[in-house]
């Protein structure tokens, strides 16, 4: 792993694009994800999240542009695959095989494998190891998937909508497991986790990438995002354009206009606007081109 590439992040994509037939699932994707954090990959359904993760695993090949992951180009070769852990959408597994057999499978398909840790993790959560995984609950299966991915001791963990199908309690348990694993790895593990709603992931993430309409809308640390975005509330007649900020989303009511803006200059003359600090979910929804009510929790 070259030192120079590592400086540019664990994951670095340049003009990355993927076309299926005549449909561009992802285009002009430019992201730099720093090492050692937990990154939320957020976007509406069909925004290209799954495609991006598959390109990063090397499961799919890009149509244009390039991705550099841990200093390598993603490919289906063992030296690259040893570095990453991946949990596909809906956690596909061999339904008749037990969790213990899956761990055994992993032990035989990976040079580097920490099966003891996985067993400890799953028994701690009360996941039965001797039952076919087809008979486990969605939450338990997701935990088995996570345990398998972590047992590889990956440097990068890619999780595709891991909590989308889980009930609220199972979500919390899954995210807690993940946060513990990230803490245990002490900066050696980078996690990228996709979701169509940030609220799922907010509490464990420190970096956010927003994909919408196949493009990167935002790629930044969550703290920095919060610092540089504001909601401006003012009369309908007010002039919205201002070099001090960029309007991300404007919504107009009968007599009032709400703007969500990215500040180019923190010191700006706010009159006639009333300024409020948005939460991260409002910012994400603005970038996804949705209002909070439209994109509300399902």
């Amino acid at each position: 792993m070259g030192q120079a590439t590592e400086d540019r992040g664990t994951v670095h994509t340049v003009g990355l694009g993927k076309r299926y037939g005549s449909f561009w699932a992802l285009r002009n994707c430019e992201i730099v994800i720093p090492r050692g954090g937990v990154c939320a990959l957020v976007g509406p359904n069909g925004a290209g999240k799954t495609t991006l993760l598959k390109l990063l695993t090397g499961l799919n090949r890009p149509t244009e542009g390039s991705a550099t992951v841990l200093g390598q180009t993603p490919k289906q070769e063992s030296d690259y695959l040893a570095e990453i852990g991946y949990l596909a959408q809906e956690v596909p597994m061999y339904k008749q095989m037990t969790a213990a057999q899956h761990l055994e499978l992993g032990a035989h398909m990976n040079k580097q494998w920490d099966g003891q840790l996985a067993v400890k993790r799953l028994t701690g959560l009360g996941v039965p190891l001797d039952k076919p995984v087809g008979k486990l609950s969605g939450g338990q299966r997701a935990q088995v998937g996570l345990a398998m991915a972590l047992a590889k001791k990956p440097k990068l963990l890619l999780l595709d909508e891991p909590v989308a199908a889980l009930d609220p309690l199972a979500r919390v348990e899954f995210l807690t497991s993940l946060a513990e694993a990230a803490a245990d790895a002490a900066g050696e593990l980078t996690v990228i986790m996709s979701s169509h709603l940030l609220s799922d992931l907010e509490r464990v993430c420190d970096f956010v990438v927003i994909l919408a309409a196949g493009k990167t809308q935002l790629s930044d640390e969550i703290d920095h995002v919060l610092k540089t975005h504001r909601i401006l509330i003012g009369p309908r007649t007010a002039e919205t354009a201002n070099p001090a900020y960029t309007v991300i989303k404007a919504s107009h009511a009968a007599s009032q206009t709400d703007l969500l803006v990215r500040l180019n200059d923190v010191q700006f003359r706010s009159a006639p606007w009333h300024v409020r600090e948005p939460d991260i979910e409002e910012i994400v929804l603005a970038y996804m081109g949705q209002t909070k009510t439209e994109g509300g929790v399902q």
Partner: protein, 354 residues
Amino acid sequence: MNWAMWQQHKKQWMIFGGLIAAFAVFAVPTGMHFWHVYQQALAGCAAAADCDQLADQLFRHGHDANIFDITKFAVLFMPALLGIFFGLALVGREYNDGTNLLAWTQGVSRRRWLSVKIGWTVAITALGAGIIAALSTWWWRAGNALYLSKFQPLDFAVQGILPVALTIFAVVAAIALGAWLKRTLLALGILVVILLVVQISVPTYLRPHYAAPRVYTEQLVVQGNKNRDHRPDQAPVPAHTGAIWVNYSAVVDSDGTALNWVNPPEECSYTIEEASTRIHNEERSGGTPDVYIDREGGPAVHFRCLKEKGYHWEVRYQSADRYWKFQIIESVLYLALSVPFVAATYWLVLRRDA
């Protein structure tokens, strides 16, 4: 990866092993029984100096005949069944269930994963098919000796080494179809069509041409009737030639043109009534009547007249000593046909997006 392969498929393989064992449990005692019955019948007819009709009497009816036919068809369909149960699901099911995404993100390259999967599946199905083919060949020896039929298409496909090559072909074709179309009804349908087309067209259009047929000619029988040894309307069989395979037989003229039974030479043709009258008259005058044959709705043809014009029987056949040569040629052919399917599977799995 080998261990993973075992873990994933052991149930399937053990069932297969069980079925082979069950076939052996059935085949060994019945095979010994048939052989014993045949030996006894042979000894019996030899004592009576009347073995000519043994083939028409033994195992032709009832229980024994059913066991013969059912077993033959079971072995005939074995390659297709192995293709369906081992081949279609091998990669197709992984695509269906999304487990390919799990397998391809472990520390094993996709190429190695596929090679191990194909390698073990082909090895195990070929081994199983080999055991079944060997048992089938041994089991069938009474029939082979009795009917001299092992070169006939239905027998040829269930004995020797051909079942193994057919199995390999069916399995790799199924793997490729599964990789292409997932584990779908369409893949199953195409597999069945491919196997049917191949199993019908190869024996019909290709097998007769692996070697130029030997030619046997015989004079027409012009006198007598109903004598078994000289049935004048049936193509003769070259004497003492073992299990031959007849590709062609016809009454031909001196140029080799086959007789047109509907429109034979005018001077040798009679209406059925005329022929009956002539036979009747010849019998009444105390002689052996001439042969008149009507076929395919044509007139009665006077064989003595045909013979005088140079007509004779021509039989083209593959001799018994070519049996193994043909088995090997056809097995190699099926292995060659398997190669593009294996290549297509690699192309589909390695080139296509997950």
